[in-house]
């Protein structure tokens, strides 16, 4: 039998204060990211921020500074430009992100820029592979829809948790879910990744997924409470449960980790960031089931008095 650990007896609850502090810092970083997002200081995608995202390719490379200069003279002073050599098609891929300019009609920018480039650099042979051009009305609608979707999904999941678990377990699972979302959000925003519709999709998916490990863990704690409470203190019982479910906590995360891993590196620029966010969620979800959800139960039990051993 292949096993990571043979009957592990790791004391996960002993350093719980340390990990709770760590998690709290993570949550604060998440709240800070929310503030950045709200103030519009985060790196918003074209879909949320209104603007143009142009994907072009050229047969020959043109220096980025020259491209920036051309864009500036065309009335786009602040453009984010990325150029990557694509070996498979022997061409240079250019990604240009422009903030929306209310004086320009939505939908015409892609071809306008293409014409400018082809006039200025006829030898480079630019083509427009694709473009997203989003006016303020659409980006506002997308933001609204994303916010609504997020709130409704969270309420749905929280109701399910509340219905599924007893009071204390439910509260711990809810805090755990909120912790996961905040930490993943911090990961996306503070690493400067673009925050777009796909990232919200990833967050919502993770809100549902990251609970998996916690559910398995809590089920085991409840089961053990029924049979083993006489021989154990509450804290050692929680620790026992975490140890007993450790292999499955690790393996259920590993399976998803492995399937997502290639996507993180070769998914193409649309799916790469998405995959990284999901991957971060898988890791955070695993961490939190051991170091957030269970310690909350333990602390709660300690606070309600040393004699009140039975939490339900």
């Amino acid at each position: 039998m292949f096993q990571w650990f043979k009957e592990p007896k790791i004391d996960f609850m002993k350093p719980r204060r340390f990990f709770m502090t760590l998690s709290a810092i993570g949550m604060l970083a998440g709240v800070y990211s929310c503030v950045l997002l709200y103030q519009g200081k985060a790196n918003l995608g074209t879909d949320f921020g209104a603007g143009e995202l142009l994907r072009m390719s050229s047969v020959n490379a043109v220096e980025i500074d020259k491209i920036r200069e051309s864009l500036k003279s065309e009335g786009f002073p602040e453009a984010q430009i990325q150029q990557v050599k694509d070996d498979s098609s022997k061409s240079y891929k250019l990604i240009i992100k422009i903030k929306h300019d209310p004086t320009k009609a939505v939908g015409g920018v892609g071809n306008e820029v293409l014409d400018v480039f082809n006039k200025a650099y006829p030898d480079a042979h630019f083509t427009l592979d694709g473009s997203d051009e989003v006016g303020p009305a659409v980006s506002e609608k997308l933001r609204d829809d994303a916010t609504k979707a997020f709130i409704i999904a969270m309420i749905g999941i929280l109701i399910y948790i509340a219905w599924r678990f007893d009071f204390r377990f439910a509260v711990a699972a809810i805090i755990c879910t909120i912790h996961d979302i905040l930490v993943i959000l911090a990961f996306v925003i503070l690493t400067g990744r673009e925050f777009n519709l796909l990232q919200v999709t990833a967050l919502l998916t993770l809100a549902g997924y990251s609970l998996n490990d916690t559910v398995v863990n809590f089920d085991r704690i409840r089961e053990n409470l029924k049979f083993l409470l006489k021989d154990h203190t509450f804290i050692s019982l929680v620790n026992l449960s975490v140890n007993e479910t450790l292999s499955r906590t690790i393996n259920t995360s590993l399976t998803v980790f492995f399937t997502l891993l290639p996507l993180c590196f070769m998914g193409g620029d649309t799916l790469k960031d998405f995959a990284w966010t999901l991957q971060a969620g898988v890791i955070v979800g695993t961490y939190s089931s051991v170091f957030v959800a269970s310690p909350i139960l333990v602390e709660w039990n300690l606070m309600s008095g040393p004699k009140a051993n039975n939490p339900s």
Binding site: L142, Y160, T201, T255, L261
Partner: protein, 427 residues
């Protein structure tokens, strides 16, 4: 039961073959154009919300006619909100031309060219001073570099019933049009009363031609000349036939994907999916040995079912949809991990192999259902609120997760049950 599963697999493979035709690919993969349009309310001041919404309804019908003339295989047209219209044209390649056809208001007007002398109204740069013009006179630029001073509208494109491309005696394309009975009668009267004057034919504020009326034109047909290219003439005839937009539209969002970009992304996505699949197969096979391969069989069946369902439901596969399939692969074997770990525990507790397998499946089921439900809640919300590509993700994720309840639990159990006596269990 085993026969049923085999039949289902066969059905899915049959439904999928050939995949390039059976799977409906999203705009982000096939390439094409997505446009969000809105009735330009700045130009409709004083109109009630109801009138604006009606205008959007009528505009959509007219756009439908225009788009039908574009020859796109599965165009999508939807009303969105009080004044919005969404157009999706998958597989479209000539995006600039489609944009021109969609956005052309196609306001056709007939006006007499005024007898005023143009030179009286020119400023020193040679531009018409519109402010100085008499009230009933309007300035229009010509399609070629010329100015026209025109009188009031005599007839509009509303009376037009047909428009077609023809060629004149020099082989140049011209547009012939036909008016309805009332319009034809009016046209006869106008031309009869104004012989030897110029009649300007104005489309979207531009004079295309201003021929001199030689005699009364009965029957309500006429032609528009204007040195068009063949394509211009064809597109013009199309928008004239489809009718004028009741209000100008403005673009609020436009997403275009070229065919190479889509093909490139999908190639990267599928390669990543295949490597991901191999990694997880290998992991399960090494960690849980024979049992792991049973789980792998369930996983592969899940993949076949999922693709089959996509084909039968005619669901659209998008780029995030591919990510959804990848995620499903990982989530699907999660159930098996839970079951196998439970079986190992039961075995350690000293139960027989048969009893351990049964207990493992039974006792892991609650947790499995829990994990499925929370994921499905998220997927359902994403389906409800997501845009096209995100919907594709919600579809593959929810289908994959729902199917995995069957493939990872029922089918693998079936394989375990196929053997009656167990001497040992490779887990």
């Amino acid at each position: 039961m085993a026969l049923l599963v085999l039949a289902l697999i066969g059905l899915c493979v049959y439904g999928l073959y050939p995949p390039s035709q059976k799977l409906k690919l999203g705009l982000d993969i096939r390439g094409g154009l997505h446009m969000n349009l809105e009735v330009d309310t700045d130009k409709m001041q004083g109109k009630t919300d109801q009138e604006i919404s009606d205008a959007a309804d009528r505009a959509m019908e007219i756009l439908r006619n225009r788009i039908d003339g574009l020859g796109v295989s599965e165009p999508v047209l939807e009303r969105e909100g009080p004044k919005g219209i969404v157009i999706q044209l998958p597989g479209l390649t000539d995006i600039k031309r489609a944009r021109d056809i969609i956005l052309s208001t196609a306001q056709l007007e007939f006006r007499l060219v005024s007898n005023l002398r143009e030179s009286d109204y020119l400023d020193k740069d040679g531009k018409i001073m519109t402010a100085k013009l008499p009230k009933n006179i309007t300035y229009f630029p010509g399609k070629e570099d010329r100015n026209y001073l025109c009188e009031e509208v005599l007839l509009t494109g509303e009376s037009l019933v047909d428009a077609n491309v023809q060629t004149d005696s020099f082989g140049r394309p011209i547009i012939s049009f036909k008016l309805n009975a009332e319009g034809g009668h009016k046209f006869g009267v106008i031309t009869g009363d104004n012989v030897h004057r110029q009649l300007a034919i104005i489309l979207d504020g531009k004079v295309y031609s201003a021929p001199e009326i030689r005699s009364r034109i009965p029957g309500g047909s006429g032609i528009i000349e204007g040195s068009f290219t063949d394509e211009e003439a064809r597109d013009l005839a199309l928008v004239l036939r489809a009718g004028a937009l009741p209000a100008p539209l403005k673009v609020t969002g436009q997403f275009q994907v070229g065919p190479t970009l889509g093909a490139d992304s999908v190639r990267k996505g599928t390669t990543a999916a295949i490597y991901g699949l191999l990694l997880v197969l290998l992991f399960m096979g090494v960690y849980y040995r024979v049992s792991g391969w049973i789980a792998n069989a369930g996983l592969l069946v899940n993949l076949v079912f999922l693709m089959g369902c996509l084909a039968y439901l005619k669901a659209t596969l998008t780029l995030p949809g591919i990510a959804g399939i990848i995620l499903t692969l990982g989530l699907s074997v999660d159930s098996n991990v839970l079951i196998f770990e439970r079986i190992r525990e039961e075995l350690r507790a000293g139960k027989t192999i048969r009893a351990s397998i049964d207990a493992g499946y039974r006792r892991a089921l609650v947790a499995i259902i829990d994990t499925h439900v929370t994921t499905l809640i998220s997927a359902a919300v994403l389906f409800q609120f997501g845009t096209g590509p995100i919907k594709g993700f919600a579809v593959t994720l929810s289908l994959g997760v729902a199917l995995s309840l069957f493939t990872a639990v029922v089918i693998t159990k079936m394989i375990f049950d196929a053997r009656k006596e167990y001497q040992g269990l490779s887990i």
